[in-house]
């Protein structure tokens, strides 16, 4: 299980800011997130960047216990 962090619109759509989700790769973990949070989250995810431990990661990137996977929708700082 990896730790998942959700921000902004992704946090709102998921209804939580932090979670634990199963999966050995980023893609598996995101699929588990979509099942758990539903279609509104899936839509947000499509436009989001995903980081593992602070670095951008694709669906194939491996995920280990203790990793932190973050879902980062389009940003609006400034």
């Amino acid at each position: 299980m990896a730790r998942v962090r959700l921000f902004g619109p992704a946090r709102e759509a998921a209804g939580t800011a932090v979670d634990e989700l199963p999966g050995d790769a980023v893609g598996e973990l995101l699929d588990a997130a979509c099942s758990r949070y539903g279609p509104r989250f899936t839509l947000v995810l499509e436009r989001s960047a995903v980081w593992v431990n602070g670095e951008p990661a694709g669906r194939d990137a491996p995920v280990c216990a203790g990793d932190e996977v973050a879902v980062l929708p389009p940003v609006s700082g400034g």
């Binding site: 921000f7 902004g8 980062l72 389009p74 940003v75 609006s76 700082g77 400034g78």
Partner: protein, 144 residues
């Protein structure tokens, strides 16, 4: 990154160096309107706290590598709830000459907006929602 008022005057004073004749400061302030939304009354910012500060530092580093003459670079961003007129972001750049100070400051705020994990929620007369003018999150070196 801080949830308190941004110390604009202190940052500006800190940026003054004997070798630099120019200090350019950009302040972003809470505006009463945004894309299709009138009567904005407040904003709420959240960030990825474990990585926002390192991304701000990377923005400063990017400016320094492009304008090696740059003296000091300060980047401050506020989180939490902000009311109309309050300062949400401050960029201060000092440099020997004004051209590079202006260019580096502009680069910093443009790059900050595209690369630092921060999200803004707008409260306006019609309700509240996430900002429409959001950018896909880029890496610091991906910004032109």
């Amino acid at each position: 990154m801080t949830d308190g008022a941004l110390p604009v005057a202190d940052a500006l004073e800190w940026a003054v160096l004997p070798s630099c004749g120019a200090v350019v400061t950009f302040c972003g302030t809470v505006r009463d309107h945004s894309e299709g939304r009138d009567g904005v009354t407040s904003l709420e910012y959240e960030c990825y706290p474990e990585h926002a500060t390192e991304r701000l530092a990377a923005v400063a580093g990017s400016a320094r590598s492009r304008w090696p003459g740059t003296g000091r670079v300060a980047l401050l961003h506020r989180v939490g709830e902000l009311s109309l007129g309050e300062v949400s972001v401050v960029v201060v750049v000092s440099a020997p000459h004004r051209a590079e100070a202006f260019e580096a400051a502009r680069h910093c705020i443009d790059t900050l907006k595209a690369t630092v994990p921060i999200w803004k929620r707008e409260h306006w007369s019609g309700g509240s929602d996430w900002a429409r003018c959001a950018h896909d999150l880029l890496g610091t070196t991906d910004v032109p």
